[in-house]
């Protein structure tokens, strides 16, 4: 699949923002007092800003953005529609929640809005992931590891942001650093499991299956079980299909990029967490490294996905 930067930035930015929002709401409800009130609402605003930047970027991906407002009408079947509705609801809820936080109002409304923020942030994350996981023609996406990755990577980058906020506003950030380290380890495990899953053992479709000659052609003869190859693709230059689905990343480069993504996305920030340097400039460095690492990871998520259309263009298997 073509790695479109607008979508890569969207999923990484809004993923981090959603993870941050969910964790802030959870900290507010379950560990009240760990973070001062002004840290909570500033963090929530940052999270909302990241989600907004991501959504704005996703609109850039549309070829006809004038009709973007229509994207909320098919919630019964479309994960993209569900995502749009959940994101809109999230904006309204978080805006109200931030207002309560700035006034340091306690009580039932704050608890209710905190829960709503958390649940909606999870909902948007799941919807984003399911847009990809529900696509049957792309076996590298149509796996349960896709939603697991999106959820955990969003929470991992969000937890790093929260740790950075804790470093900036409190002197006792230890618990939040430990939470970030735990989520980092889980996200790393999920990413490695995803790469393991798409690398081996998943049933692939073949060119023979795609053109219907896998069980041989009609009648007795030498082609009872045939294999096929492309003779001529039929078009002289690129088409929408080759531009959208034809992207290939060399296996060697993919391996190198995976290592870079692991080092920047997990190695550097985890090393910072383990070292326990609770200073906010160091925290910002760790966050920056993680975001760059996740941008590379998301680029690979697209670049390594192979759509079944590629079979018709001559790929022997997906």
């Amino acid at each position: 699949m073509k790695p479109a930067f607008s979508i890569i930035f969207f999923t990484v930015s809004s993923g981090a923002g959603l993870g941050l929002l969910a964790l802030i709401a959870l900290v507010d409800m379950l560990a009240h007092g760990v973070l001062p009130n002004y840290a909570l609402w500033r963090g929530a605003l940052l999270g909302l800003g990241l989600v907004a930047a991501g959504l704005a970027s996703s609109v850039l991906h549309l070829a006809n953005p004038r009709n973007a407002w229509r994207s909320m009408v098919r919630v019964r079947t479309s994960w993209l529609s569900r995502e749009a509705v959940a994101a809109l609801a999230l904006f309204a809820v978080v805006a109200a929640y931030v207002l309560l936080l700035t006034g340091d109002t306690g009580g039932a409304p704050r608890v209710l809005l905190a829960w709503a923020t958390c649940v909606l942030a999870w909902a948007v994350l799941v919807c984003t992931a399911m847009i990809y996981a529900s696509l049957k023609p792309i076996r590298q996406w149509h796996t349960r590891w896709t939603p697991a990755n999106y959820l955990l990577l969003g929470h991992w980058s969000g937890a790093l942001l929260l740790a950075a906020i804790a470093c900036a506003y409190t002197t006792h950030a230890g618990a939040l650093l430990a939470l970030a380290a735990l989520l980092g380890a889980l996200a790393l495990a999920a990413k490695l499991a995803y790469w393991q899953a798409i690398g081996a053992g998943m049933p692939a479709l073949t060119l023979e299956r795609a053109i219907g000659v896998a069980e041989g052609v009609r009648g007795a003869g030498p082609l009872s079980v045939a294999h096929a190859r492309l003779l001529d693709v039929g078009h002289s230059h690129g088409t929408f299909l080759t531009r959208e689905f034809g992207f290939v990343v060399a296996r060697r480069h993919a391996r190198t990029l995976r290592v870079v993504a692991l080092v920047l996305g997990f190695g550097v920030p985890l090393a910072w967490l383990v070292a326990g340097i609770a200073s906010w400039p160091a925290a910002l460095g760790a966050v920056g490294s993680c975001i760059i690492g996740l941008l590379i990871e998301r680029w690979l998520f697209f670049a390594e996905a192979r759509h079944t259309v590629r079979l018709y263009h001559g790929d022997p298997r997906t």
């Binding site: 699949m1 991906h61 549309l62 070829a63 006809n64 953005p65 004038r66 009709n67 973007a68 229509r70 994207s71 009408v73 098919r74 079947t77 479309s78 994960w79 993209l80 529609s81 749009a84 847009i131 529900s134 696509l135 049957k136 023609p137 792309i138 479709l205 023979e208 299956r209 795609a210 053109i211 219907g212 000659v213 052609v217 009609r218 009648g219 007795a220 003869g221 030498p222 082609l223 045939a226 294999h227 096929a228 190859r229 492309l230 003779l231 001529d232 693709v233 039929g234 078009h235 002289s236 230059h237 690129g238 088409t239 929408f240 959208e244 689905f245 759509h307 079944t308 259309v309 018709y312």
Partner: protein, 231 residues
């Protein structure tokens, strides 16, 4: 109703007439608007097509066969391109035809990602997704003679390798042929229930070896006949 196409891979000669006829009819159709061409007279012409013909070789020489393979929308009964569409622009009609409402599409490409066959193409000029309409503006047009109420690709095919009909009607030509000649849908394992059917190619005739008695006979007959022919 399940309107669709039946494509005979045994008789298709890969001339691309169906693709050209499709482009010609639909480029001036009001259903999808113009089918944009990009740099049509430039060094690398490209554009939107509803139907593309590709060519494959099946088996190994001498037991090999060329298969010409036209591919357009399968008008799936369980079409994910319709269910993933967030705007409601993609829809499936009661007669089985899957269409895109050009006024509603926002060009997000998700339906093209959901289609395993590559039957949908984004028109970057209009910013909307376009696809085979099964010539919905021909097949119901009572101003046309009854024999002309068929998709342009079917009418253009010089070898009658394409047929149009209702696959829900067991007595239709397409249903009968599909069941007689083991017609198949593409990649049924993905669960889209494609409606279009392909008739499989026949077994290839292997190329005869030098010492094969039939080859010797052929050469002998040819040497007998050639003095007569050349006279």
């Amino acid at each position: 109703m399940k309107l669709g196409l039946l494509i005979d891979l045994d008789t298709c000669v890969g001339c691309h007439a169906c693709a050209i006829a499709c482009k010609e009819w639909n480029a001036s159709s009001h259903v999808s608007g113009a089918l944009s061409d990009y740099e049509p007279f430039g060094a690398e012409p490209s554009g939107v097509w509803f139907n593309r013909v590709r060519h494959y070789e099946v088996g190994d020489y001498p037991a090999s066969k060329t298969i010409n393979f036209p591919l357009s929308c399968m008008h799936c009964a369980d079409a994910d391109c319709v269910s993933v569409c967030p705007t409601g622009a993609s829809y499936r009609r009661a007669d089985g035809i899957v269409l895109v409402d050009q006024d509603k599409c926002m060009g997000c490409n998700l339906c093209a990602w959901a289609c395993p066959y590559g039957a949908r193409e984004l028109d970057t000029v209009s910013g909307t997704m376009k696809k085979c309409t099964l010539c919905v503006d021909r097949i119901y047009d009572v101003m046309l003679a009854p024999e002309d109420r068929q998709p342009a690709c079917v009418l253009a095919c010089p070898t009658h390798a394409r047929l149009f009909g209702d696959f829900d009607d067991p007595n239709s030509d397409v249903s009968r042929l599909a069941s007689e000649r083991a017609g198949f849908g593409l990649m049924p394992e993905l669960g889209y229930a494609p409606v279009n059917r392909y008739l499989p190619p026949r077994q290839p005739q292997p190329v005869l070896g030098e010492d094969d008695p039939r080859a010797l006979l052929e050469r002998g007959l040819a040497s007998l006949a050639s003095p007569v022919i050349r006279r």
